[in-house]
Amino acid sequence: MNRHELQAMVEKAKEKHKQLKHKICVCCGASCISSGSEEVLKKLQNEIKTRGLENEIEVVPSGCMGPCNQGPLVKHLPENTIYQRVDCENLDRIIESQIVEGKPVEDMLLFADSREKPFVNANEDPFFKKQLKIALKDCGDINPEEIEDYFAVGGYQALDKALYRMTPEEVISEVKQSRIRGRGGAGYPTGLKWETVYKYVSPQKYVICNGDEGDPGAFMDRSVLEGNPHRIIEGMTIAGYAIGASKGFAYIRGEYPLAIKRFEQAIKQATKHGLLGKNILGSPFSFEVEVRIGAGAFVCGEETALIASIEGKRGTPKPRPPFPAESGLWGKPTLINNVETFAAIAPIIQNDGEWYSETGTAKSAGTKVFALAGKINYSGLIEVPMGTTLREVVFEIGGGIQGGAEFKAAQTGGPSGGCIPAEHLDVKMDYESLTSLGSIMGSGGLIVMDKSSDMVDVARFFMEFCMDESCGKCVPCRVGTKMMHDLLQKIYDGKATQIDLDRLEELAVYVKETSLCGLGGSAPNPLLSTLRHFRQEYESKILKEA
């Protein structure tokens, strides 16, 4: 397919959607499927067919819509009415009322306990109103299994623009201007990384998409991969063009079978349409993408371990320098970015870097996807501008704490991050502010805890996770996490003394500073931050000397 044929496809897809009166999206993300959305989809499709409405109403499976704990979700477009907890029985009411009569079913609308009333147009609900969707923009509105749906929302236009109207240097400068930083957690400026890889001269370079999302309570990458896989392929291809790579790998964890299935399907569709493979859109640029499936090791989210895993070796990290930008996959210059970073590339190219950088704060531009979990009314996926306060995220978007309980702390960044106590609820969610509180942005997991949570137990839980997931290569992480876990258990059991606590603190700093990779380097963070904000909980469990 050349670029003119692409334009024709896009126009055709847009035209087709204009003709439809209504579109009904049934969320077929992993969490809605687990609560039975596939049966709802099947039944709804059959009903529409038997009533002969298929030319007016299109029923499609879509990606994640956001409020996952209220699923299965069904969205009625263009009214943008979302129904929650739909099953095959109460679906009849939606069909009779919404589809036949055009009246919304009031008592099935998306609704969290803390809100005064439900909203017929879901965009008026603070959950959606406060969000700004860039990476997740079309996720939840399009069928991720049909490339035509992606065309209808302007898919692959950014790739066309990059290939025909921009040089690789211009693409990189646009990404630099957007000031986007790596969304995997560390926050390294993406444009700078691209430029570094671009500058290394090599006949073979690689692009890697890191989809080995392993933090407990985090599911941003999964939802993007499931909900809009073509966006990632487009982002990776643009990256390949910019840095001069002809091959990309998407490393997706094996626990995400649906994401893998949809991504592989998307690769096939893109290849069929000439958007991957040789001479993309008739240009001299060639690029292909291959999926590699992670085998369940958390440490493979670390870039050097991930590269070792793709090479077919044991997934253990290597000391850096050399960084992958210089010597990565099979010793070649390699660009490795997170799924969410690639998801933001197409909009940055299609609009421009400045447009993206207008959102967010001075040092952290753009938006960030968070996965809300824990004792919160709406748990699920949100995307907010950088610099949104934690209070807005928890109480306005998330609808507050379940059962009206008191907020105690929020854990950001999973096992590598830290907790934010109630007195810092007004902290801006950006890289620097979170770091200054002893937490990290991380990949975007946000676990909300109420007064029933014991912070020593929280620290112990995350330490147990790191202890199990340590690759065992370097001594501080392998033995240190085990020792720290045992000491935390001892404190939790009420058997520890002040000496144990002192040793624990010394070990925590030691492991943080001496570990080989980021896993060990950040493993003590939950412990250190709970000690910083909730020291009294540790001290109350310490045995007083007789």
Partner: protein, 235 residues
């Protein structure tokens, strides 16, 4: 070849830019503690004993894997580094079951020497006392996992020098173990050539020949280094 100058512990050296910090230090008589490093094998930076402070970098870097750079300022013996080296040594001893008094390598053991060097008088952390196997299935050698410190020198010498790749690593975290082939008894290995290089590469009494008793083990890790050097010269 163009030389670059670096400052290590406040002394200036003009050195080859291809060298690592560790090589430069060793050549100039600056002591750096190591355990997973064995000259001739690929460095992996795993034991974290050779950590050094480099000015302008907020992380501690392993000297064995970091190449020197122009005007690099390195500190190898700050109080912080010494304190961390001691903790690392303590963790080595606490991790498995190291009983010098009954060990074949008593008196010639690199781990024991490390203990003397960091002046280890006691271990502040509880010993983990894991249940470890002793594999005596090989006709000549023994693999005692109680004494293994997971430096993986045996794995690397077997793979890189002998080319047999009998040894590898399995499991994660503190459960890691050295395995022969796909975790079969050493004696049943189809890849082991019984060359004995792993025995000489091993820094402790984890791999040893059957014919000896306590304190009798003679190891020659320099043999591995010399072998690699001689092969390079032939090429």
């Amino acid at each position: 070849m163009n030389k670059i100058s670096v400052i290590i512990d406040e002394k200036k050296f003009d050195v080859d830019p291809q060298k690592t910090i560790l090589e430069v230090c060793r050549e100039n008589g600056i002591e750096i503690l190591t355990m997973c490093h064995l000259k001739g094998l690929m460095d992996i930076g795993a034991c974290r004993l050779c950590i050094v402070e480099v000015e302008g970098i907020n992380r501690l870097l392993s000297a064995c894997t970091t190449k020197v750079a122009p005007n690099m300022v390195v500190k190898t013996a700050t109080d912080r580094i010494k304190r961390y080296q001691r903790i690392t040594t303590e963790l080595f001893f606490a991790e498995r079951n190291h009983v010098c008094a009954v060990c074949v390598s008593n008196g010639k053991c690199e781990l024991q020497n490390l203990g003397y060097k960091v002046e280890l008088d006691h271990i502040r952390y509880p010993h983990l006392f894991p249940q470890c196997e002793v594999d005596t299935s090989h006709p000549w050698y023994v693999m005692d996992h109680n004494r293994c410190i997971m430096c993986t020198r045996c794995v690397r010498v077997c793979n890189e020098v002998e080319g047999a790749h009998n040894w590898d690593v399995m499991n994660r975290g503190h459960q890691v173990r050295i395995i022969s082939d796909f975790n079969t008894p050493w004696g049943q290995s189809t890849t082991c050539t019984s060359c004995g290089k792993c025995l000489h590469a091993c820094p402790t009494g984890a791999i040893w020949p059957k014919a000896i008793v306590q304190g009798q083990l003679e190891k020659n890790p320099v043999m591995v280094t010399e072998l690699v050097e001689r092969r390079k010269m032939k090429l």
